[in-house]
């Protein structure tokens, strides 16, 4: 049952990501991205990482996409800078990416023989939130703090960069 749900969610995510990439209008892309993020969150839920799923929805689908929308609004409809032909670029990109997929996918084959390969269910009964919290404040205390520094830095930077000088 869960396997089917995961499968369907994956399918949705992948298809919408393809659409997001090929969509002509940026706004449409953003809509598809919303679907992607939601689909991802769905996968998280199925994998019983509810906390992450929620965060995913809040941060990505909620905050981040809004920022993108704002940016889009701020920038406005942008004329194409130069008519650079992208055909060659596209062909090469697709070929390379296909090779990339092939390489990695062939490596995944080995996972099929692992014992837990189809085990979608959580490994422990204990709440993962508390476990995460414990780890965050113990093993990963430093990264946790540093992540905050990163955010601070990004805030200051964005402020500094995007601010129009008063003069």
């Amino acid at each position: 049952m869960l396997a089917y749900i995961v499968f369907i969610l994956s399918l949705i995510t992948i298809i919408s990501s393809v659409f997001a990439i090929i969509a002509k209008k940026p706004a449409n892309s953003i809509i598809f991205f919303l679907i992607i993020f939601l689909g991802t969150a769905g996968i998280f839920f199925v994998l019983q990482a509810e906390y992450l799923g929620i965060i995913q929805i809040i941060v990505y689908a909620g905050a981040l996409l809004v920022v993108f929308v704002f940016a889009l609004i701020l920038v406005g409809d942008i004329p194409v800078y130069k008519k650079n032909p992208l055909k060659l670029q596209k062909t090469f990109s697709i070929i390379l990416v296909l090779i990339f997929i092939t390489i990695f996918w062939s490596q995944f084959g080995i996972l099929l023989f692992l014992p837990g390969a189809s085990n979608l269910i959580k490994f422990k009964e204990a709440s993962d939130i508390s476990l995460i919290a414990r780890l965050l404040l113990k093993d990963y205390l430093l990264p946790f703090e540093l992540a905050s520094v990163i955010l601070l830095c990004a805030i200051i930077g964005s402020l500094y960069i995007a601010r129009k000088e008063a003069d």
Binding site: N84, Q89, F92, L96, V97, F100, I103, Q107
Partner: protein, 617 residues
Amino acid sequence: MECLSHPALVLLFPLTGILWNTFFGFKFKKYAGYIASGMIFLSFLISTILFFHHSQSNVVWTKDLYTWIRVGNLDISISFLIDPLSIVMLLVVTSVSLVVHIYSIGYMKEDEGFVRFFIYLNLFVLSMLLLVSANNFLMMFIGWECVGLCSYLLIGFWYKERAPVFAGKKAFIVNRIGDFGFLCGIILIFLNFGVLDFITVSQHVNNINPVIITVICFLLFLGCIGKSAQIPLYIWLPDAMEGPTPVSALIHAATMVTAGVYLVARCNFLFGLSPCAMNLVAITGVLTAFFSATIAITNTDMKRILAYSTISQLGYMFFACGIGAYSAGIFHLATHAFFKGLLFLAAGSVMHSLSGELNIFKMGNLSKYTPYTFWTFIIAGLAISGFPGLSGFFSKDKILISAFSSGKYLLWLSGLFTAYITAFYIFRMIMLIFFTTERFDREKRQHTHESPYIMTIPLIILALLSIIAGYIPIPEYLSRVLPEPSFVLPSSTKHLLELLSVVVCLAGIVTAFLIYQKNIISSSRIKQKFLKLYTLLFNKYYVDEFYDELIVKPVNRFSLEFKNKIDDLLIDGLFVNGSGLVIKLTGLLTNLMQTGYIRHYVLFILAGMIIILVIIL
């Protein structure tokens, strides 16, 4: 006496002369010539002392001065070898030089390079004395090269003109070709004998492979060929006549050019072991004697005729050495030094009186104006022609007799024929200069005069020497050190041969007399008859042109090509600058990859990643 008999003293005086004239000569310009001559006179005195001293004790002396080079077993001293051979050479050299020095005081009086001239002359004498008194090959080589240097400097004495400088260069380079052989020979001697001094080498000579000895002899003989202007390297000597005439007399007739003969004589212990080399020496000598004599027949330049004659006479000397008659060779060397020196000096006197005229067809009847010159010239001419009673007769005859007795009749015959030609061309010259009609310009006649005493007295001295030198028992004296050919002729044959050569000599003189003085045989008719031969002879067998085409030009062209194609283009252009260029161009290529587009960069990165992944996974 004892203290004065050190051979180094012989060298010391010219050296003093050089130093004095170099540093103070320009202040006391007038005395430069006297000082130089005085120094040579002192050298001459010392040589004489040496001679007497030595003839009393009658052994081979060696005197070490100091060690020059000592590297391992290569141990070379500056040391002197005094034996009859070197004493003869010392005496000949110092005496002729002395005369030439005195003569030059008059001859070079007006020249602005007066002091320089005497510096060079002294330097030359110094080197020549070094050469002949050396106790080992390498020291001899010093003298050998230094006389070449002096020759170069003196030929190019009038350095403002193009021709003398060019001739000097030619002389030096041709000499260097010979020196190259000599040097190689010396090194081979050292490698095989382990020593370089003559005495030790001569003692060990039997232990060495004859093939090596032959090679060494060939190489040494190459040196002789260069220095003594033998075929095929004689071409520099005629050109060397660009130098002042005293120089031609001293260097290019009397002394330096005979160094080759001296070397062969000195190395008789080597040559004696190599019949092959001996034959080569003899054949080269005869050929040279013959060919250069033929060239002299048609030449019109007084000094060049003498030059070819010198070459020819040198050929005789080699011929003598080649058949083993070393003492005859050296004897001829000595007599030749006197009469050829005299010829040149007299020729200089002629030039002096005709303000530098050289073409014998523009002279004539000079006997009227320049009696001393005339008579001395005649004496010298007779001497060289082998007129009986004069020195040339004795020495030349000795050579021819030795040749006959050695059984090489063909060589002997050509030697004899050459003697005829010699007599002919010398008297052709004498006729044209001193007899016949006056053919020189009118205004020159006003100045035509006999040379001053300072020039004529040397002529007279030399004339005397040319006469009496034949009576000095030089060969006997030399036979103490030089081997004599073993074969003896019955005295009747000997007299017959002597008679034959007298006849030949007279025939030559008479022929010249008939053609040029009496015009009984018209020279132009002969010219017409043998036009091809005449042109060939007149152009000196085209040897200069031949060398020019075969060696000089190819070397020049090759050097130029090598410089342009190999050095500049291939090595510098292609390899050095080319690699730089390739790197620069590749750099442009890598710069092209920096397109500035982010998507390109990502694409490149992705491609690189994929390539690595494909290879590794």
